[in-house]
Each structure stands twice: as structure tokens, then as C-alpha cells.
């Protein structure tokens, strides 16, 4: 009996270790991890210098981790171990409630909030004198669940307090009241376009625009499965979302112009759904500076939207109220360059729209 037990242990150990090695070698390497939204390590180049410096072996370690057989399944096992075996409350700062993945953003970085306010003031003073300027803060999903599920969260009240105290000559639009957890994707950080019609109305109303987004008979277009940015990070297998994008007649001839690549595109680029970040369907994703023009507009009014990725999905809804929206992502373009590309002399509303994650890490705003 004892000998049999020993043989079983040895055989299992050898099968697992050898099997793991051979499978990892034989199976073709993937170049991208869609669930984690990143490029996987390539097998390092062998040079004498890289071996002597130890760089080769460091890269080999990273490569072996990235290309280990059943990698995603092992990451799921680890996540199950963390949540169910050891009953830990988060895995890499993520937790799961009713199939919804939430990132625990904590603590509030007050210096960062001060920096964000300073950045808004700087832009206001340099480019937006005499204009009506507004700003809104988009709460992250943790805002809705942290207290109920005893997770840590940033001090949202303090964040708003600092912004309201520090930001000068701009009107605050409270979005914390209009948004609910259901307005967000379960596997992603972002809000769902089809769920934020009332938020778009709230923004327009606050900016004195009578256009009603919720009155527009949008057509729903579905893309499935949508594995959001949190999906790969939490490690657990959860049900994918359906990405819905709304179309209306005014969007048909609308044109998106990218100043970086000097190219034109459509509002929704559905082929991007199969890419690394499916949310890039909206306005082709992260771009430093783009304009969206609405040829069917009845007004000459324009909107300048300083935004993060959340802005990509709400801009098409707001477009019905404007002839043109200029979207500026300060993560990718310096404040100093704005005057070279944007004509601030027109009849424009100006809206700063940032989610709490960005404000809490605002040093990325250039």
C-alpha cells in the first residue's frame, strides 16, 4: 500500500511537471493576452551580453510565466483560492459581487485631486476665459458597493469638496446622483452607453441645452461577448457583457477626425471589438485629440470635451445637441499644445468629464 502510494506520488509529480513543460514548449505561443489586454513576452534573444548580465534569464522567467499552458485557468484557480479557500476580500484589489467585478480604489490621493483642480484652472485661465465651463466627476463602481460589502474606498465626499473648493470659474455637475451600478458593465470599468441617456440629459441640462437625448429613438446594436478590462485582472470566470452601441440618423454622416494620424473614421468602429480593448468601438478608443462633426445639426454650437475613455461613449449621444464636439484627452496631449489645434474663439460649451480613477491619479494629465 505504502509503495503504491509512493509510486502514485512520483508518477503524478513527473506527469504534471513534464506535462507542463512539454505542453508549454509544443503549443504555439500567443502574442497577445486578450483577457489581460497586454502583449505577452516573446522568447528572449540569446546573446552573450544578455546572458552574462542576467537579462536573458530574467526575460525567460517572464516568458515562461506568460506562456505557461492553461495560464488563464491557473489564474482562475488562484483567484478561487484567494476568494473561496482563504476567504480574502480582494484579489489584486479586485472583488466580485453578483457577477460584477469591482476595483477597490483606495485611498484618496488628496495631492492628486489638488493637482487635477490646478490643471483645470490652468486650462481655464489659458484658453477658456469668458466661456461657460463645466465639470463632472464620474464615480467608479466601488462607490456604489464599498460600504455595503465592507470594502475600502476613497473618500468621495472629500474629493468633491476639494474640487469644488479649488476649481475656479467652473460649474460642477453632480453625476453621483444620476448614475447607479446598473449603468456600468459588469466586467469593465466603463459605463454602458445605453444606460447613460439620463446622464447625457443631465449634462446638457446643466449646460443650458434643452436637447433631450432620452427623446431620441436610438437603434440598439449588440456585440457579444464583451470581456471588459477587469475580466482578465480579477482572474475569475464571469459571464461576459454585451456591448451595445446606439445609432441614430444624425450619426450616419457624422465624421471623426483624428489630429494625430490625420485620418477620418466613423463614430463606431465595430472591427475594433475584436481588438485588445473592445471598448475602442466607441470613437476608436484612446486618442489625444479628435473632432466629431454632425452635418445634420441645426445649431452652430460646439462642445469641447476634456475627457478620459468614458467620454468616448457619451460623446455620440451629446453630438445630437452640437454641430461639432472636440474631444481632448490630456493623458496624451500637453496643455501647451491645445492652442495650436483648437480654435477657442467659437461659440462653445466646455465640459471636463473625468472618472474618479483618473482624478485620483491625475499626474498623468499633461
Amino acid at each position: 500500500m505504502k509503495n503504491m502510494k509512493n509510486i502514485i506520488i512520483i508518477l503524478c509529480f513527473m506527469m504534471i511537471t513534464l506535462g507542463g513543460m512539454l505542453s508549454s514548449i509544443i503549443l504555439p505561443d500567443e502574442s497577445l493576452s486578450f483577457s489581460e489586454r497586454r502583449r505577452l513576452e516573446e522568447f528572449p534573444k540569446i546573446t552573450m551580453a544578455s546572458i552574462v548580465k542576467g537579462e536573458f534569464f530574467n526575460q525567460l522567467e517572464a516568458y515562461s510565466l506568460d506562456h505557461f499552458v492553461f495560464r488563464d485557468d491557473f489564474r482562475s484557480i488562484k483567484a478561487y483560492g484567494v476568494f473561496h479557500l482563504f476567504r480574502q476580500k480582494d484579489n489584486h484589489g479586485f472583488y466580485l459581487v453578483d457577477n460584477t467585478i469591482i476595483k477597490m480604489e483606495y485611498p484618496l490621493n488628496e495631492d492628486s485631486i489638488h493637482h487635477a483642480a490646478k490643471k483645470l484652472n490652468e486650462i481655464g485661465k489659458r484658453y477658456l476665459q469668458g466661456k461657460k465651463v463645466y465639470y463632472g466627476i464620474i464615480p467608479d463602481k466601488n462607490y456604489f458597493l464599498a460600504d455595503k460589502y465592507e470594502r475600502l474606498s476613497m473618500d468621495y465626499e472629500r474629493m468633491i469638496e476639494i474640487m469644488r473648493q479649488r476649481v475656479e470659474n467652473m460649474n460642477y455637475i453632480n453625476l453621483f446622483e444620476t448614475l447607479t451600478l446598473d449603468d456600468y458593465y459588469k466586467t469593465d470599468i466603463h459605463w454602458r452607453q445605453e444606460a447613460i441617456l439620463d446622464t447625457a440629459d443631465r449634462l446638457l441640462e446643466a449646460m443650458g441645452n434643452s436637447y433631450q437625448v432620452s427623446d431620441i429613438p436610438y437603434e440598439r446594436n449588440e456585440l457579444y461577448p464583451f470581456l471588459g478590462s477587469y475580466y482578465g485582472q480579477v482572474g475569475l470566470k464571469v459571464k461576459p457583457d454585451t456591448l451595445i452601441y446606439l445609432t441614430a440618423p444624425y450619426m450616419k454622416d457624422a465624421l471623426v477626425f483624428d489630429y494625430e494620424t490625420m485620418t477620418k473614421s466613423k463614430i463606431y468602429e465595430t472591427e475594433k471589438f475584436a481588438g485588445m480593448d473592445s471598448y475602442d468601438v466607441y470613437l476608436s478608443g484612446a486618442k489625444a485629440l479628435i473632432t466629431v462633426t454632425n452635418p445634420e445639426s441645426n445649431t452652430d454650437k460646439e462642445l469641447i470635451l476634456f475627457r478620459d475613455s468614458f467620454g468616448s461613449s457619451i460623446a455620440p449621444l451629446l453630438l445630437g445637441a452640437y454641430s461639432k464636439i472636440t474631444l481632448v484627452d490630456l493623458r496624451y496631449i500637453s496643455t501647451d499644445l491645445l492652442g495650436e489645434y483648437i480654435d477657442f474663439s467659437k461659440d462653445q460649451d466646455v465640459l471636463f468629464l473625468y472618472n474618479t480613477h483618473i482624478l485620483n491619479q491625475s499626474y498623468m494629465l499633461k
Binding site: 502510494k5 484557480i77 488562484k78 476580500k89
Partner: protein, 467 residues
């Protein structure tokens, strides 16, 4: 190379096992030597030459000591071996420490050498010394085969983080060792246990320590939780490594001595040091403490001996003052125990002895873990309420709840409760059969769980690598 890495577990180890066991007996040591050199080269390409030169020095000194036996100058080769081995250790490990202190004392501005510490130098230097001293004393036969000697020094299971395997322990097995299915299975089981201690417990507890350093809302309770979790982390980190080393040694036919014996069950600090890092404690006992006279000397000299040994023990752990304070802290406790506390403890209930021991160990590991004296004082102030912080808050409670089960598992795992429970079950036939079925299943599940933790790429450094 780390034991707790995919490259070791899924490439290095299975390939080595196949090559080793398919090779004729006469090639086995050479295969282990080449594998060990590659193992070291993988993590420390530059210093592999230093390690081979150190081995060569130890080998030549062994021959010289053997040749000089009975002559007027018999001590000379031993002194030469000690000077060279300790000299290399001092140069690579302590030069910057001395430069820093000379600068501080004499207000100079000497530039530090910024040498990277060769991994494992503290361990293999002590192994070489144990060999030359034992050959001098006649406790070990001289090894005339350079490759076999280098295989002993560089043997990968114990090369970089111990235990300190003395030559006499494996002398016989270097030339004649048996391989059996029982040893192989024992080795695999022991390796997996060690891997689990390291990856699942020590690394997870280490994450809690990292979180603590980053948060602003610290509390007295959190300081205590982190002190406890660090004590458990270092135990599972180091004893896990020792388990893996012992397991790997057994797979290849070596029987290394145990390095830990449930140290947190100790009822005194004296007992603790008989159960913690046994290979280091016995090394200092046999090669420093006893040659200085041990306890068969006057009270004053005994106290001197204790202070010297514990100063060296602390200094061996790292070129920082907090390690020296840590060593001297134990020296003071050991002296106090011998003359004052021991008698009191013997009259008190056992649980009070445990509380006393754990309390002073907690404080010792705060010293050990401190970032300099300032950092240590900050942590001690935090623990004892001198930082003007609340006793508890919601952040502390969150992490206590999140890591509570891990800490409880670690606390239970640091005792002999599980071992005792299994031994009780195995006591009857039915139980033995049950364990025979469950044991392989448990170990395979743990291997897969460890792989999952590795693939997820979590926090992974071995604490004892810095020594």
C-alpha cells in the same frame, strides 16, 4: 534560480531528474555539479566564478591541512582557510557597511563600493569553513576529488539559502548514496510542503506587510498584526525553503539534517534557538562558542562568549546595525533567562512561558524587519501607542478580515497540531489507509495550487537570499 519559479519547477527539475536517473552512477555527481553551476549561473552569472574559486580554495586548504597534520605549522593552513573564506565574505558582504560607519565616525566621504551581494555566500562560506575545520580536527576525511568537493559546496538544493549542510553530514553520501522510491516520494512531498509554505503562506503574508507600508491610516492593532504576520512570514519563508532543500536533497539521495523544529512552540528563548535555524545555531556552537570555552568558564567569560556568538549571529544575517542589535537582543535575553527568568518561568503555568516567548520573539522580528534603527523605533512606537494613532479603524478591520484566515492557518501550521493529528489517525489501520489515499491527492492539489499562484505572478522574493 528560485525554487518557487515556473522555470525551476517545470523545466529545470524534471529535466535534471530524467538526466540524473538515466545516467550511470559514476556520472551522477558530475551531473549534479553541472546542474548546480547552471542553477547558480541562472541567477548570478558573474559570481559563479567566485563560488568555484571559493570551492577551489576550500579544496586546496583541505589537502594542505591534511598534509600539514602533525607538523609544527599544522594550524597555518587552517588559519589561511579561515582568513581567505571570511575575507571574501567580509569583502563582498560588509565592505560598504564599514565604509558607511567609518564615514560617519570620522566625518569622511569615502565612496561605497556598491557591490552586489553574491547570493548564498554566507551559506557556502560557512560550509567550506565547516569542512576545513572538521578536516583539521580529524572529524572529516579530506576530499581528494575536486569535483566531488565542489559538488558538495555548490549542491543546488542548499546552495543559496541553506540549511548549512556540513561536510560530515553528506561525506558518505557524496560517494555512496542510495536512491529509493520511498526517498523520492518523501522528497517530492517535502518539496511540495515547502513550496506551499513559501508561495501560499509566506508570500501572501508578505503582501500584507507591503500593504501596511503604503497605507496612511495606520493603527496600533495594525502594527501588531503586521508584526505577527512578519514573524509568521519569515518562519514560513525560511522553513519552507529548508523543506524544499531537504526534499530535493532526498530526491537525489542526500539526507540533510532538519533546520526547524516548530520553534514557536518554545517555552523560552533558549529553547527557541534550539528549534530555529538549527544548522546556523549548531554551526556557531561548534565552531565559535565551544572553542571559546562554551559554558565551562567563569560567569564573566560565559557572558562574553554569549555576546560574541550573538553579535556574530546577528551580523551574519546582514550588514546593518539592526541585525547586530537583533543578535545582541537575544544575547541579553539568553543571559537574563539563565540567571533570572528561567527559575521564574519554571514555576509559572506553561501558557505564560509561551506568551513570554512569543512576545519577545515578536519584538525581535520587529528589530529584524526594521528599516534601520529609526524604522524599528517607529514600528515599536506604533505597537505601544506612542505615535498618536487610533487603536483600530475600518482599514485595519478590512485587512484583518481579509487576511484573518491565512494568519490563522499560518499560526496553526507553525505548530505541530496537524502533524500530531495525522499521526493519531495513522495510529490505526483504517486511518493509515485513509491517509494513504488522501496524502497524494492533497500534495497534487497543492502542487497545482502553487502553480496557479506562480502563474499569477505574485510577490515572490526569498527573504533569506539577502543573507
Amino acid at each position: 534560480m528560485l525554487f518557487s519559479s515556473i522555470v525551476f519547477l517545470y523545466y529545470f527539475l524534471p529535466i535534471l531528474m530524467i538526466v540524473y536517473f538515466l545516467s550511470p552512477k559514476r556520472f551522477k555527481n558530475m551531473i549534479l555539479l553541472l546542474a548546480s553551476l547552471f542553477f547558480y549561473f541562472y541567477g548570478e552569472p558573474k559570481y559563479v566564478i567566485l563560488m568555484v574559486l571559493s570551492s577551489f580554495s576550500g579544496y586546496c586548504h583541505g589537502l594542505w591541512i591534511d598534509k600539514a597534520k602533525g607538523s609544527r605549522f599544522s594550524k597555518l593552513p587552517l588559519i589561511s582557510s579561515i582568513v581567505i573564506t571570511i575575507g571574501l565574505l567580509m569583502f563582498f558582504k560588509y565592505t560598504d557597511f564599514f565604509i558607511k560607519n567609518v564615514n560617519w565616525i570620522f566625518k569622511l566621504d569615502l565612496s561605497p563600493l556598491n557591490l552586489v551581494l553574491p547570493i548564498g555566500i554566507s551559506f557556502y562560506s560557512f560550509q567550506i569553513l565547516s569542512y576545513t575545520i572538521d578536516v583539521y580536527r580529524g572529524d572529516a576525511k579530506v576530499q581528494r576529488n575536486f569535483f566531488d568537493f565542489t559538488t558538495y559546496v555548490t549542491l543546488f538544493p542548499q546552495l543559496i539559502a541553506g540549511p548549512i549542510v556540513r561536510y560530515t553530514t553528506v561525506e558518505e553520501e557524496m560517494s555512496h548514496r542510495n536512491h529509493s522510491i520511498g526517498d523520492m516520494a518523501y522528497g517530492i512531498n517535502r518539496f511540495i510542503i515547502g513550496l506551499s509554505k513559501k508561495i501560499i503562506l509566506a508570500n501572501s503574508l508578505g503582501e500584507l506587510g507591503n500593504i501596511f507600508t503604503k497605507i496612511n491610516e495606520k493603527t496600533i492593532l495594525f502594527y501588531w498584526i503586521v508584526a505577527l504576520s512578519f514573524m509568521l512570514q519569515i518562519y514560513f519563508d525560511f522553513s519552507g525553503y529548508s523543506d524544499m532543500a531537504i526534499g530535493l536533497g532526498r530526491m537525489f539521495g542526500f539526507h540533510f539534517l532538519e533546520n526547524f523544529d516548530y520553534p514557536f512552540l518554545s517555552k523560552s528563548i533558549t529553547e527557541f534557538w534550539r528549534r530555529w535555524h538549527i544548522s546556523l545555531g549548531t554551526w556557531f556552537r561548534d565552531y565559535v562558542y565551544i572553542p571559546m570555552g562554551g559554558n565551562r568558564v567563569s560567569k564573566g567569560k560565559w557572558i562574553r562568549n554569549v555576546l560574541v556568538v550573538w553579535f556574530l549571529t546577528g551580523f551574519w544575517h546582514g550588514a546593518e546595525w539592526n541585525f547586530i542589535y537583533w543578535g545582541l537582543y537575544f544575547a541579553i535575553l539568553l543571559v537574563m533567562e539563565k540567571y533570572f527568568i528561567k527559575g521564574i518561568l519554571e514555576r509559572l503555568p506553561v501558557f505564560i512561558s509561551h506568551i513570554y516567548t512569543i512576545f519577545f520573539l515578536l519584538i525581535s522580528f520587529v528589530l529584524f524587519n526594521g528599516d534601520g534603527l529609526k524604522g524599528t523605533m517607529e514600528n515599536l512606537k506604533g505597537m505601544f501607542g506612542f505615535l498618536n494613532i487610533p487603536f483600530n479603524n475600518h482599514v485595519t478591520m478590512y485587512y484583518l478580515k481579509s487576511y484573518g484566515i491565512l494568519i490563522i492557518i499560518a499560526m496553526i501550521g507553525s505548530t505541530s497540531l496537524v502533524k500530531g493529528f495525522i499521526e493519531k489517525i495513522v495510529g490505526n489501520k483504517k486511518g493509515e489507509r485513509l491517509i494513504s489515499i488522501l496524502e497524494p491527492i492533497f500534495h497534487i492539489i497543492m502542487l497545482l495550487l502553487n502553480t496557479a499562484y506562480l502563474v499569477d505572478g505574485s510577490f515572490n522574493p526569498f527573504l533569506y537570499f539577502r543573507f
